[in-house]
């Protein structure tokens, strides 16, 4: 391991990506992702990276470049956020359908309208159904580790799916903090060189992306369903191996925190989990049976790991930083679906941190207090509960 040092979030990601030695990196800038691709182009310009860099004219093209490069047999990487993710939506589906192990960073930012560059998970949630593995990280060190793990999971012949590492924009991308990460040599020993399964090769001239009818489309889709399921074991294994080699662990599919004895179990993902851990400590010190299960991998959805990490849970208090408009928070919806028919634990869906609304320890305490009240009253709200919503929003300033 390299000695711990203060690193800048976007540069840490760029260095992690560089350590994975991608053959092609496609770039397009959007806040708060820009510093990642800027750094990668700098690493290339200064001779510290030998990847081919393609500076695309849109995110749709950037992701398409990565798709073409991956199919042509090299490790491919790109990054985006917000509108860029939405613009490239259909490319994610084709990547997943072609089973291309492209790894990408999504620096989570909310989506228009109104236009905002502040963080929430609405962008990556909008493509959760596309067939990509989705990691959400809490810290810079985890972001570094997860990019390396993501390539290994994505490229595993049993998985072969694109993977995105989601990190909260600004909060993590623009953060400086001390982190300890493996050396480039250590990354080499952990992440084997890319062995492409797909290829575009005149000596083996295959046709990719044919059109199919009702006779086989469902089977192809189902193969992705099954690959996603296989990815669960692979993610656990790859995370354990990372911990064993480098002595640093960030959980597997989930990271439980004081969840073993907790009756009220917070469920969340991304950077807010750190604030929640602090709050859980404070509440436990006050004698409350509170814990946290941080979801590290949202797709595939690790419902078994959530449930088994919190055996005494009476209620899962879920915080979604996104909302399916006209429905509920996506994590809450999934968890409710899997727990359907069970009397306990209940699921309460909170929506918070939308458009960058800050989530302080006080907000987390409010969430716990509301949960206790709902439990006491025996009324579990079916609708999402907003956290930190102002009662009035001025229309002009």
């Amino acid at each position: 391991m390299r000695p711990a040092r203060v690193m800048y979030g976007s540069h840490a990601v760029a260095e992690a990506v560089a350590a994975c030695r991608p053959g092609v990196i496609a770039t397009y800038q959007i806040s708060p992702q820009t510093h990642i691709v800027e750094r990668l182009t700098y690493l290339r310009a200064s001779g510290q990276l030998n990847s081919e860099i393609v500076r695309a004219e849109s995110e749709h093209s950037a992701f398409s470049v990565a798709l073409g490069a991956s199919l042509a047999g090299v490790r491919a990487y790109t990054a985006s956020a917000s509108q860029g993710v939405l613009l490239a939506t259909e490319v994610f589906y084709t990547m997943a359908g072609m089973r291309l192990p492209v790894v990408m960073t999504i620096t989570n930012r909310t989506v228009s309208t109104p236009l905002s560059i502040q963080p929430d998970h609405q962008d990556s949630m909008a493509i959760r159904d596309a067939g990509l593995i989705q990691f959400y990280v809490e810290s810079l060190e985890e972001a570094y580790a997860t990019h390396i793990q993501a390539f290994r999971v994505a490229e595993d012949p049993d998985v072969l799916l694109p993977a995105m590492v989601c990190m909260d924009g600004w909060i993590l991308t623009h953060c400086y903090e001390p982190i300890q990460v493996p050396t480039a040599e250590e990354v080499d020993s952990y992440l084997p060189p890319f062995r492409p399964v797909q290829s575009l090769d005149p000596d083996r001239p295959l046709s990719w992306g044919a059109f199919v009818d009702d006779d086989s489309y469902m089977e192809y889709r189902w193969s992705v369903v099954e690959a996603m399921e296989r990815a669960k074991a692979k993610i656990r294994e790859v995370s354990r191996d990372y911990a064993a080699r480098f002595g640093r662990s960030y959980g597997e599919l989930v990271e439980p925190y004081c969840a073993e004895d907790a009756e009220i179990v917070l469920v969340a993902m991304g950077s807010v989990a750190g604030t929640m851990k602090e709050t859980v400590d404070a509440l436990i010190a006050r004698g409350r049976k509170v814990g946290l299960v941080r979801i590290r991998c949202f797709r595939p959805f690790p419902w078994e790991d959530i449930v088994s990490s919190a055996p005494r849970a009476k209620v899962f208090a879920v915080l979604d930083r996104s909302v399916s408009l006209g429905g509920q928070g996506q994590i809450a919806a999934d968890l409710r679906g899997y727990l359907h028919g069970q009397k306990s634990p209940a699921v309460i869906g909170f929506i918070g941190g939308i458009g960058g609304r800050d989530i302080s320890p006080k907000a987390v305490e409010d969430m716990v207090a509301l949960t206790e009240r709902f439990l006491d009253e025996g009324k579990i709200p079916p609708a999402p509960v907003p956290l930190g919503l102002k009662t009035e929003v001025s229309s002009n300033g």
Binding site: R99, D158, L206, S207
Partner: protein, 99 residues
């Protein structure tokens, strides 16, 4: 490609040959070999690679021969033949002519 992982609709090369579009045809080209100069224009203009210049069965000249497996009967070859050696006929008429 791993056999046990279905990778999105990947195909072996040239497998379309297994689909015989000749069944779409209503009329077919009839080549009058004595008129055919073997210039190959019909082959160049055929959308379906369904007409080739081959050695005549009746002599040593090279003449156009249509491929019944794939010819869709569009008639471009007949329309473009400078020697007027190709006419479009129904299958029945073609059989008649072959006698």
């Amino acid at each position: 490609m791993r056999g046990d992982i279905p990778l999105a609709a990947v195909d072996q090369p040239g497998t379309s040959r297994a689909y015989h579009t000749g069944a779409w045809r209503l009329v077919r080209p009839l080549v009058q070999e004595e008129k055919c100069t073997g210039c190959g224009l019909c082959n160049l203009y055929c959308p379906d690679a369904a007409i080739q210049v081959v050695k005549s069965e009746r002599g040593s000249r090279r003449v156009a021969r249509f491929n019944p497996l794939y010819c869709k009967g569009c008639g471009i070859c007949a329309a473009e033949c400078k020697a007027g050696a190709i006419t479009m006929v129904t299958e029945d008429n073609a059989r008649e002519a072959a006698k």
